[in-house]
């Protein structure tokens, strides 16, 4: 997309011809151009192949801003701050699961608070506990028995983020998040039990503990009220100050502040905390997942224990070093529905994965398949170390509901071998497989563009939707 109007840089959309057809009339392209107008943007305003219309940034949008004279935009991260995916590998086999799939999905559905208004009475924290949790990092969860010490070794930056500051978070954010720790979230958030269907790179798969036929658990947990309120607070604050900093906005939701400003520092500190918190959320799910899986192998409980797995975020703004026009520079990379995918050898990848590249989890829709990828060198030269994050919606929620009318979606999915339980039928209709692009096509684009490499394909057997 050539630079025009108030754009400071050009736009690049990674897509196949077919995916481009879906995007041609989508406002996501206008949003790519809007992001290109923000001050201090470097390189290009990017859209990954799963891009679609968002609010402010497109979903699937990536943009980097010069740390010296650029901005941070809370609308460029969205309200799903650090919403992300976790993958666990179980020692169970397909034969352990298949005869008991319905019972297992029922047990997981009962054990994991999903959907809107989901609260955990067992995890409700006092304000004091909540602040202790924010200060102590992922260790807090492990000490409370909701995770394993080995988790800490594979979490990015060991589960402690420099600059994250509990005082940067409003009382309102703390209050909104207090009862939601350890819940999954609603809409497109889910817990999926599946199998490794195909392995494309045996070496990388081996490092990740995956092999054909292995049973996996994938968790897409939402930002929850804590993250939603951090975003809401920051958008309102930056909406107030953007004009004062002389920033002209193509869309009010793109409000932003210079990276050195108090508003920017406060937002980055609060956003980092949300990530700190979510380091604990999936860990808090873990004992429940093996708990459900344990029912499948009552006589051999040890086999139900899962590997610690991989955790990846896809809505984030982060200060990183990248090479832009031949020069190394510090930039604030915004990934709105995009995943960091650093190549093999990068020193910011946890040591356990450094030789294969940063693991990337790409969930598809609930009826087809999902992918495990690893970062590749092209990501550093083309996309500020980023790749796609999912299939990407192709149908609006109302269009999906119209398409679902008169159909028995749960039975259709059952016929495809996928048992689904959901907190609400509206979710099943809005999240139906046809509402999404074919994730295989999205992954093909990032694989061939050299942003990341295919490692394995997972097929779903049982899904719990929020």
């Amino acid at each position: 997309m050539p630079r025009h109007g108030a754009m400071n840089v050009h736009g690049i959309v990674f897509a196949s011809d077919r995916l481009m057809e879906d995007l041609r009339d989508d406002p996501a392209l206008e949003q790519v151009a809007n992001v290109a107008c923000l001050p201090g943007i470097v390189g290009a305003s990017l859209a990954m192949p799963d891009a679609h219309w968002g609010y402010g940034f497109p979903i699937g949008g990536v943009a980097a801003f010069d740390a010296e004279n650029g901005v941070v935009s809370p609308g460029g991260v969205g309200c799903g701050i650090n919403c992300g995916v976790r993958l666990l590998r179980s020692n169970l086999t397909r034969d352990d699961l298949l005869p008991r799939m319905k019972d297992l999905v029922g047990a997981l559905f009962a054990a994991l608070p999903t959907g809107v208004g989901a609260h955990r009475h067992d995890e409700s924290l006092s304000e004091k506990e909540q602040r202790a949790l924010l200060t102590q990092g992922a260790r807090w969860v492990v000490e409370r028995g909701h995770g394993w010490a080995s988790d800490l070794e594979v979490i990015e930056e060991g589960g402690r983020l420099p600059g994250a500051d509990p005082d940067a978070v409003s009382e309102r954010a703390l209050e909104r998040g207090r009862r939601q720790l350890g819940t999954v979230g609603s809409g497109n958030h889910f817990v999926e039990v599946g199998l490794v269907g195909e392995v494309y790179d045996a070496v990388a798969a081996g490092v990740l503990g995956l092999h054909a036929g292995a049973v996996t658990v994938m968790i897409h947990s939402g930002s929850r009220g804590f993250g939603h309120q951090i975003c809401d607070d920051a958008v309102k604050e930056m909406g107030r100050v953007s004009a004062r900093y002389g920033i002209r906005l193509p869309d009010r939701q793109l409000c932003c502040a210079p990276l050195g400003s108090p508003e920017a520092r406060s937002y980055l500190a609060a956003q980092g905390l949300r990530r700190e918190l979510c380091l604990r959320e999936p860990a808090a799910h873990d004992p429940r997942c093996p708990g459900g899986l344990r029912a499948c192998v009552r006589h051999e409980p040890e086999r139900a224990r899962s590997s610690h797995g991989v955790r990846r975020w896809h809505n984030i703004a982060k200060i990183e070093t990248h090479r832009v026009e031949g020069k190394e520079m510090r930039v604030c990379v915004h990934r709105k529905g995009a995943t960091r995918a650093f190549p093999p050898g990068h020193d910011e990848i946890p040591a356990a994965y450094r030789r294969i590249g940063q693991p990337v989890l790409i969930p598809g829709d609930m009826g087809r398949y999902s992918y495990v990828l690893v970062g590749a060198p092209g990501a550093m030269s083309e996309s500020f170390g980023s790749t796609c994050h999912g299939a990407g919606r192709v149908m609006s929620r109302s269009a999906a509901k119209r398409a679902a009318r008169g159909r028995t979606l749960l039975r259709e999915l059952e016929a495809r071998g996928v048992t689904v339980r959901s907190a609400g039928m509206a979710t099943v209709a809005e999240e139906m497989p046809e509402a999404y692009k074919d994730v295989a096509e999205v992954v093909d684009v990032v694989h061939h563009a050299g942003l990341s490499r295919r490692v394995a394909r997972l097929v779903p057997l049982g899904v719990i939707k929020g």
Partner: protein, 143 residues
């Protein structure tokens, strides 16, 4: 309260949910917008006006910002404190200030079924418009 000739319709949006809300006056648009927001979250016919919860919004940048801040306040009261609303009463309305009450009750799982979670009321494609037929607001909700 929500007047009979107020209402809302869904607009097409791939990722999230866009609404067009209409009402004869700006004050009534606040009630209609509150009703529309909560009708996305649950069936508001199941919400009874058992309580009046005070809502104050000050220092908005303009009328559009005031409407978004007002709806964000209702969303906070819902998500953090468990309220569900179906209408509001406006006591004072200026371009930067809202004083009034939201009418509703505490979420009761026996009677209320939550349909969707709304993360935020956004400023994207936000439009507040007056014409001969009254007022309208275009709102994009982050789901």
């Amino acid at each position: 309260m929500t007047p009979a000739n107020s209402g809302y319709q869904f607009l097409d949006h791939t990722g999230d949910l866009a609404l067009m809300v209409r009402a004869p006056t700006l004050r009534e648009l606040y009630g209609a917008s509150a009703a529309a927001l909560f009708d996305v979250i649950l069936d508001i016919r199941t919400v009874e006006p058992r309580h009046e919860v005070p809502v104050h919004v000050h220092d908005a940048a303009d009328e559009e910002d005031l409407l978004v801040r007002f709806l964000s306040e209702l969303l906070f009261l819902h998500d953090a404190r468990g309220w569900v609303f179906h209408a509001c009463r406006v006591d004072e309305l200026e371009s930067d200030r809202f004083e009034g009450v939201a009418l509703g009750e505490m979420f009761d799982p026996e009677r209320h079924t939550i349909l969707r979670q709304v993360k935020a009321v956004t400023y994207h494609h936000l439009l507040l418009h007056q014409d001969r037929e009254g007022w309208s607001a275009r709102l994009v909700l982050d789901l």
